[in-house]
């Protein structure tokens, strides 16, 4: 029975069935275990409870807040963006549209499905977080404000995602738009806000220190209202100044705005994809005349394509001619977009951390290069994770497997496509590092800075290679584009930050600090950093540390090898070789 609230059917079909899946148990267990691990590792020793207990509880609250907000920003856009496009892909949207479920019910049901899992995960962490009350220093209002902001932030991001899902026909476009929307609404203002605050703090207000505090407080309160994650900064420094009403009103307005847009999009009759009927043009003169106009000087879709040459990999040729290069205009836009973001980020960081008059140019380079690497890595899974999964979703992978193409050829074709798809992002990052970051060091004639820049570029390429391999591997195993995206982000987070951060946390815990001599702790700290190329790259800044370059090189080599192993695994997967080999071995025996 549908009942008085029509979306109950949707909720039952999607949300409850999601909860029944075994993977939910895995996700919940992992989240709770990670949280328990964090609490256990950060728990102060018995003697220190009175001294650092309150501080530790706040730090723990911040860690959980950051993790939940990061999870919200990384996973929710993909989950929400596929809510309605997946119905279109499965050709069930028309049936849903014809049912008695109203657009509001549909949007609500889809939203609840996208948010429900996240909220449940967040709720499951609360008992563990509650343990920190024993450390004193946290009030229940404190935790409540954080929980409300996180929950409302999820609603706002979910609303952006659901709108993109209703607005766009293609899943990948909806996902990309959803991430961009979430980034635009939350991420970029935060980066800029942080950079501007830092700039003001360092450059301007040291002149009028008395006026600074009041002005900074107002600025920070404004930042919290617009960009909820900054609540952590303010809450830690001046808890009394935090007013949760601002962020909650901002997030509610945002959610309502996008929810309204979603309803408008859902009320429209389903769009029919108009088939393309243009015939190719064989007349050279007409083609030449067209070439003078945008975007035909880049690529003309009506120009007859050559046959695939002998000896070339057909998968690569198809991916390039009909895939990546067929969407040349999109690639150019991605390049310009990436360049704009990279330049803005690099300029903001270089000005904030390494402008003329300070002696931290190497620090600024390292931070800027790390930020550029993150800016390059973040959109990479969106471009790559559909490479195989799309073939699988449309039952095309089997047709490829049935041809005489070797698994390595299929994989190399896809890898080539991945490289070309990532090239606008990588080229933008490299250009930015050469044009924006390098001149700061050259102006100060600090050659160490160039070394740091070179190491940053190597780190960038290592990270891109690993993420490309990871995206391909997940894409090969996942069943849906959204699943592939979420899993790629989760694994990338674990690979590039989680493992290393957890090891560092463990090393800082009271128990380990006491039991390990300082020399060994230093080596272990370097080892922990080497579990992430980004961490080990930033670790190069600490000149007091010996062997940091060796550990950075080891980290890079490890991640290159990891990428290679993942690619090897992909080859086996495409071939389904292990199963066949096992069987052959059994028969021989």
């Amino acid at each position: 029975m549908i009942g008085p609230f029509p979306s109950t059917a949707l909720v039952r079909r999607e949300f409850l069935s999601t909860l029944r899946k075994p993977r939910m148990l895995v996700y919940t267990s992992l989240a709770v275990l990670a949280c328990i691990g964090g609490v256990v590792l950060m728990w102060p020793s018995a003697q220190a409870v009175q001294i650092v207990g309150a501080k530790t509880s706040t730090v723990l609250l911040n860690v959980v807040t950051v993790v939940l907000m990061a999870g919200c920003g990384l996973f929710l856009p993909a989950l929400a963006a596929t809510a309605i496009t997946s119905e279109r892909d499965d050709e069930t949207y028309d049936m849903l549209h014809l049912s008695l479920i109203m657009p509001a019910g549909m949007a609500f049901g889809k939203m609840l499905n996208a948010l429900g899992v996240y909220w449940l995960l967040a709720l499951s962490l609360m008992p563990v977080l509650g343990v920190t009350f024993f450390l004193v220093g946290l009030s229940w209002q404190h935790v409540l404000v954080r929980a409300a902001v996180i929950a409302w932030m999820a609603v706002a991001i979910g609303a952006v995602g659901i709108y993109c899902s209703a607005r766009f026909q293609r899943t990948v476009v909806a996902i990309a738009a959803s991430y961009f929307g979430a980034l635009f609404v939350f991420g970029i203002p935060w980066v800029f806000g942080a950079a501007v605050l830092e700039f003001f703090r360092i450059r301007v207000f040291w002149l009028v220190e008395a006026a600074c505090d009041v002005f900074m407080l107002r600025l920070e309160q404004l930042a919290v209202a617009v960009v909820p994650p900054t609540i952590i900064i303010l809450d830690s420094r001046m808890p009394a100044a935090v007013n949760p009403l601002g962020p909650l009103i901002y997030l509610t307005l945002l959610a309502l705005f996008f929810f309204r847009l979603t309803l408008r999009a859902l009320r429209r009759p389903p769009k029919v994809r108009v088939p393309k009927l243009d015939k190719p043009i064989d007349d050279a003169a007409r083609l030449h005349a067209r070439r003078k106009r945008f975007p035909y000087y880049l690529i003309d879709p009506l120009k007859r394509k050559k046959i695939i040459e002998d000896g070339r990999n057909p998968v690569l040729v198809r991916e390039l001619r009909w895939g990546v290069l067929g969407r040349m205009t999109v690639m150019v836009r991605v390049f310009y977009g990436a360049l704009a973001v990279d330049w803005a980020v690099a300029v903001a960081f270089m000005l904030a951390f390494g402008g003329v008059g300070t002696n931290r140019i190497v620090d600024a380079t390292a931070v800027a290069m790390t930020a550029l690497t993150i800016c390059t890595l973040l959109p990479a899974p969106i471009l790559l994770s559909s490479l195989f999964v799309k073939e699988r979703e449309h039952n095309k992978i089997e047709m490829l497997q049935m041809t005489l193409l070797r698994p390595t050829q299929i994989l190399m074709g896809k890898l080539g496509a991945a490289a070309v798809q990532l090239s606008p992002l990588v080229v933008a990052a490299v250009l930015t590092s050469v044009i924006v970051v390098a001149p700061f060091g050259l102006a100060r004639a600090e050659w160490e800075n160039l070394l740091m820049l070179g190491a940053g570029l190597v780190t960038l390429f290592v990270c891109v290679w690993t993420v490309a391999a990871l995206s391909l591997a997940v894409s090969l195993l996942a069943r849906t584009t959204a699943g592939a995206l979420v899993e790629t982000y989760a694994l990338a987070l674990i690979l590039f930050a989680g493992t290393s951060a957890a090891l560092h946390l463990a090393l800082q815990s009271a128990v380990i600090r006491r039991s390990i001599p300082p020399d060994l702790r230093h080596i272990l700290s370097l080892t922990a950093s080497s579990f992430s190329p980004l961490f080990s790259y930033v670790g190069l800044l600490e000149r007091s540390r010996q062997n940091s370059w060796t550990f950075w090189i080891a980290s890079c080599v490890m991640f290159i090898l990891l990428g290679a192993v993942l690619m090897l695994g992909c080859t086996h997967r495409v071939n389904r070789g292990p199963e066949r080999a096992k069987r052959r071995a059994n028969v021989t025996a």
Binding site: P301, I308, R318
Partner: protein, 309 residues
């Protein structure tokens, strides 16, 4: 030697046994109908033959080549058309076929002629420059069949090739398959729509719940299934007299009368049926039709299968 040989083929998905040790022989030049209800194991068998699935046990050979150990050689001689398939966005039909021709390592010089041949065979020549994603379902089926034929395979494995097609498209696909049979191809075609296979296949195999219930020559199976003949008699005048003659006549069972039309089950031979007809005529019955109703695949299917999934 059979073109396709299957021995004790089993496939298990965890506890569910999709195939329970089936044996099957398909001779060269056969159009072999592989029939069964949904979930019977047809697609599983075909996917194993196409090297896309590993069997849990048992073996299968195509043209003497083991499908498990020599998948690459199998791909050269097999064309597989799945029941559902996608097409690449933004590709025109000629480009689509060129891609698969290149994937089957057909040299560029020969490719154009082959693509033209395949387009003509599938009656798609005038759509060569159209986008495949814009095709109707029937056109996509043909397009997939064209792709399946591009490397001139000896054996065609067609999984529900006519599902979802309109009557005209079905008839056209049927005609196309007959042409392929005349070209010497061996075709294993699965379907649960019996009418589409009845007048096309020379041999059939019926599978249900992973078990092969019967397999062999269609006519022989039909005869083994039907112990009696079904005779249809239509008279213009003298239906009462005809009813009197048929009543209690040895060899005639279950006479069903509807006005001037009679349907009867009989175990009479050819000569006795001739006698019966002449007796009817001699007694003044004006006979319009006196004919045997031929058995259909539906009869065989209903007789052999138990129903349910």
């Amino acid at each position: 030697m059979a073109m396709i040989e299957i021995r004790q083929l089993t496939k298990r998905y965890n506890k569910f046994e999709a195939l329970k040790g089936i044996d099957l022989d398909v001779e060269e030049g056969d159009i072999y109908g592989f029939i069964g209800p949904n979930g019977a194991g047809k697609t599983t068998t075909i996917r194993i033959l196409a090297t896309l699935l590993e069997p849990s046990s048992g073996s299968a050979w195509i043209n003497g080549i083991d499908v498990m150990y020599s998948p690459y050689e199998i791909k050269r001689i097999v064309g597989y058309m799945p029941d559902s398939f996608g097409v690449y966005d933004g590709m025109r039909l000629r480009e689509y076929l060129d891609f698969f021709a290149a994937a089957y390592k057909i040299p560029g010089k020969r490719r154009k002629a082959i693509i033209d041949d395949v387009l003509n065979l599938t009656d798609l020549a005038d759509r060569a420059d159209d986008f495949v994603s814009a095709f109707s379902r029937g056109m996509k089926q043909r397009c997939c069949l064209a792709k399946t034929l591009i490397h001139d395979p000896k054996v065609l494995l067609l999984d529900e090739p006519a599902s979802g097609l309109d009557p005209r498209a079905r008839i056209e696909i049927k005609e196309l398959l007959k042409t392929l049979r005349d070209m010497g191809k061996t075709i294993l075609i699965s379907s649960h729509i019996l009418s589409e296979l009845g007048d096309m296949c020379n041999k059939i195999a019926i599978i249900e719940r992973g078990e092969l219930l019967t397999a062999g020559d269609f006519q022989e199976i039909l005869q083994s299934v039907r112990q009696t003949r079904e005779i249809r008699l239509l008279v213009l005048d003298g239906s009462d007299k005809a009813a009197e003659i048929l009543k209690d006549r040895p060899g005639i069972i279950n006479v069903d009368r509807s006005g001037n039309e009679f349907h009867m089950e009989s175990n009479l031979g050819q000569a006795q049926l001739a006698e019966l007809l002449s007796e009817l005529v001699q007694n003044g019955v004006q006979v319009v039709f006196f004919s045997e109703v031929m058995g259909t695949l539906e009869d065989v299917f209903l007789h052999v299968t138990k129903g349910g999934i």
